[in-house]
Symmetry: D2
Subunit: 346 residues, 4 copies
């Protein structure tokens, strides 16, 4: 029933489950100081070919909140598009840590680099800066909330603006697995070494039970970061369970294969929908599809399928969201399409 509702509706990938079974008899030291966490970090660093600083946290909101509040000074805020996760769906977690989310109008869920530059420029020509929140960081997600993606050149430009104003660029990679094989993507995992200052490799939505791997490209941003994690309630006692998940995800390219599978499936799904003349709210790039249906049809679909109603449009049209994941079967898509066709053709 919940098959297209989101990408966190299944326990986890079977490799992780197998590893859990395998580790059952062993005992490990707590709080992520264990050898499995070391192994997982080593695998990621090897892939990146860089000695980055890595920390494992539990979930996305927690990760965003702890990173942002650990880096910003009390009078600084974080820039995000209005549709950014931290601006809309985290119950004011960033503000509860004392910082304003400075909202910019985006384009298809993405930061407009010209608007960003203009915003920062305007701040810096102010004469009464002490009355205004200082922009202290730029936040973006890739893929975005709308499944769109930033290309290498776009991120490069944004990063250049950040450097110009000496603020870090932070990439929320909750769905990072779905980036690398996304339509039109030209970013390679290793490119993240230079494109941003801090990012995280999403686990929860990409095959793990839970977990996000935070990567600091620049260690000046992670001084005493474990203090911040603990204070923020994010230091898992059994840290080795976080470690083993990433250890599996980064063995045999599993992480990338999971993304590849989802993008292939969502591409197929989208193509089939288009054959049925279904309109799309935004172009599909990664594992999310935003088709537009009549409200009556949506009600019928919801009888046998669970999905998000994304937004209401004019003329009784509704944009809904289908999320395809590492775990989605072609059979489930075909089954859904069959039922959809039978309704449409009635």
């Amino acid at each position: 029933m919940y098959k297209f509702k989101n990408d966190y509706n299944r326990v986890c990938h079977k490799n992780i489950l197998n590893r859990l079974n395998l580790e059952y008899e062993n005992n490990y030291v707590g709080y992520g100081n264990d050898i499995i966490c070391e192994s997982a970090k080593d695998k990621i660093k090897k892939l990146l070919q860089k000695d980055v600083d890595i920390h494992f946290l539990v979930g996305g909101t927690q990760t965003n909140k702890i990173i942002i509040s650990s880096i910003l000074k009390p009078y600084e805020g974080v820039i995000s598009v209005k549709s950014g996760h931290i601006a809309t769906h985290e119950t004011g977690a960033i503000e509860s840590s004392g910082h304003k989310v400075l909202e910019l109008k985006g384009i298809d869920g993405k930061i407009d680099v010209l608007k960003l530059d203009e915003y920062l420029k305007e701040y810096h020509i102010q004469t009464n800066k002490e009355h205004i929140v200082k922009p202290g960081m730029v936040y973006l997600s890739n893929p975005t909330e709308l499944g769109t993606i930033y290309k290498k050149e776009e991120l490069n430009k944004i990063h250049k603006v950040c450097k110009k104003y000496r603020i870090p660029l932070f990439l929320d990679g909750a769905r990072l697995a779905y980036l690398f094989d996304a339509r039109e993507n030209d970013i390679d995992f290793k490119d993240l070494n230079d494109l941003v200052d801090i990012y995280y490799i999403g686990g929860t939505k990409c095959g793990a039970m839970f977990g996000e791997a935070v990567v600091f490209n620049n260690k000046k941003y992670s001084v005493n970061f474990r203090h911040n994690i603990k204070q923020g309630g994010g230091l898992l006692a059994k840290g080795f369970i976080l470690g083993l998940q990433f250890d599996e995800l980064f063995s045999n390219n599993l992480y990338f294969k999971l993304g590849e599978h989802a993008n292939k499936m969502s591409n197929y799904f989208e193509q089939e929908l288009k054959k049925l003349k279904v309109k799309m709210y935004v172009d599909r790039y990664s594992n999310q599809i935003f088709p537009v249906f009549d409200i009556n049809l949506v009600e019928k679909l919801s009888e046998f399928c669970d999905f998000e109603k994304w937004c209401f449009l004019d003329d009784n049209k509704v944009c809904i969201r289908f999320v395809i994941s590492w775990a989605t079967n072609k059979e489930d898509i075909d089954d859904f399409l069959k039922q959809l066709k039978s309704i449409i053709c009635k």
Copy 2:
């Protein structure tokens, strides 16, 4: 190596692992709105024979911080003994949410009800209350950080004082499984309905991979509590993994059996140590033992066993902590004792 270091050194109880394997193919709705969470809550409510309000969170610090900050008004603080977890080992998590921990001197890790009454009385006779932090809640853990326990009459008295000053009593049950079969314990699970206002049933240290089940005996304290969980970074996307752990722990009395096992093992361990004339720092009640050794002996022990050095005493003596858990084997204890004897008798 980490066998006596703590009670969170193993993945989880095998029933939970089996359940994970069993649920592998299924998909569930997110954020704890699933039927497994419902089932787990129903089992707990049935045992308590009360329609309490239950929420599943990930870890102890997170749970303490979210509960306390959701209930206190901005100018209120929480009373705890100096050795309380929130006062010592949470990196100021409570303060980071804006509230002072009002520290009372305890006795063997426990609140002295007379001191508590006196403290609250003194506050209430102040004439300039607006200059002082208002005590807004009492926090205690049972078993305590030192493995000691509160008996029914003690909790009753403390609760009576709380009621007199109209503040809630919150019990941190991170090690609750180890209470019910602790030496001298006279508290039954159902007694918690009346003894405190809010408490949590610890999972992380009692057989789960992670998770704490918060129970509100009085629903006035849990209005919109899910908002607080989300804002605090504690709302797990795959909430059904929290649910299935408690669903297993509360099937066939597993939770209580795990505690029973640990207490039996720790009793045996303590008795054997006493036969070797080992002195104890505090009396043992539950799954923690605090033996005192010469510093030289401690160094030798640490070569083949990992444990916490609790505190340094006079005369080159050290108090160390052994934690026995749901997963501890008699063989491991015997093996350790054999090595200990061989060192002592040399």
Copy 3:
């Protein structure tokens, strides 16, 4: 030089200065528990003909921050227009207390009641409310940042919407003195009893050295408010100096006379500017005028007069702000106009 820059460029009205001189030899109890504060409160209550709860604070940002953070629950935010003082010019003071400012697009600095109703309605039909900041209060200022005013019917409608969604309406009256004699105003001081739930009577910008008098129409919002003031760093040791200022402002209708004078002067100033064909950015209602000039002219004016450059428009035009206050002389206006004419007519 700073004569039109703002309404806080002079020490204070001479009646306040005289009172300070008069009180020089006397001694009073601290923290606002003195008889002058009582007298000032009584005068205000008498004018309002209502037994409201009154507290004196030092400045506007402090007052906004302490009121809002004392009323909102941790997961609640405050609604304001984008141009609201709390949204723009308080360095994120509200966010630093943990709460999001929920920004609505305004009209001439004012809340659009239809947009407000729609926003609150949309929130309340959400099914996943725990992921979203709960709107917990509406903030507005009257007169607004743009000198515009809400009429009685407008405030009534907004208040009705607030009541429908059971959230309080808070009016920032930093420039309240300039409301009552503003162009088109139909609100009487006593009307504030019913039009809003909390408001403050601005002193700093209305003739005092400093000080804002917070009025709670509903005492449920001010329980233990003095605790919040103290914690927020707003409880002045010599509270009687706050009291004596409001005692003077509310003797012989001084507060209202000061506003009347400023509005008369600004009306005159505006009329004279219009005779010179100067365009206005927004209509003038109270003590602020927003004329539009060529950038070259602005540079020349700034040689002999200090003012805020409000915003840059197209075609090398700039909107500047003149603030007329309780202390502005007709001579200073005439003198400025003379110099302006001589430049224009060159």
Copy 4:
């Protein structure tokens, strides 16, 4: 009636009042960017013979909160004696900004340098630092809450310990005027250049209407400090009123003369009390006297004099506090003594 209750019971010194009268017709730019503030800062710097960074704030709690929260990292706390103002009488203002006050047992209101060193040493040998609040600053006041004083050598030693652990030393000088002529004091105003890292020169309790002048000996601690002041609600719109008060206090050595007067008066008061065989709770050093009386006598005294009851002792004895200020007359002391004698001799 309130003559010995505290040192903030009178409007202000007459020089300040005269200056207010003098400035009545003038207008100044806002927020402390005016020439009077410049003048006041210059006078202080000239006396210190050092180019320190100076900021004017309104009151003590506000100043403590803004300084401490602007310097500490989120996971850091501030060390203070248990009787420190921030630990007892600020309604948890420091905690409300997110930071724990790390309380050390003091001696007569003063930090014990050995205890401090031991505390910091113990922290730094911890292996699990991420679980503990990091001590990030040392706070003390001079004179202390008990009127006792630190001598130069004592402060030197404390500062040395702070430097060893690389944390700043912050001195709350709310009663600084009363230090320099205190009994046994050997600290000169200029000595503050080296003895501490941050301090403030108290105005509120030392002759001003209100105001504290924060001095940063090391400018690395005051980067963007005005942002913190504004966000904390401490940036006074009419900053020139703060400036003119310090401009007067630091003209003709007024600040030091006021302290000298108060100490002379309190010395006289104490000597006369001792002649009447009155016992003291602590030795008097500056402008506070803590005599011990029978409770019956205290009740009689309170009929014609207002003072703080400091603490209740055994045998129906009470320690009360007399505060002598810049404004205390010998006549008032004599008058009180006469009444006291007539009661005692009855």
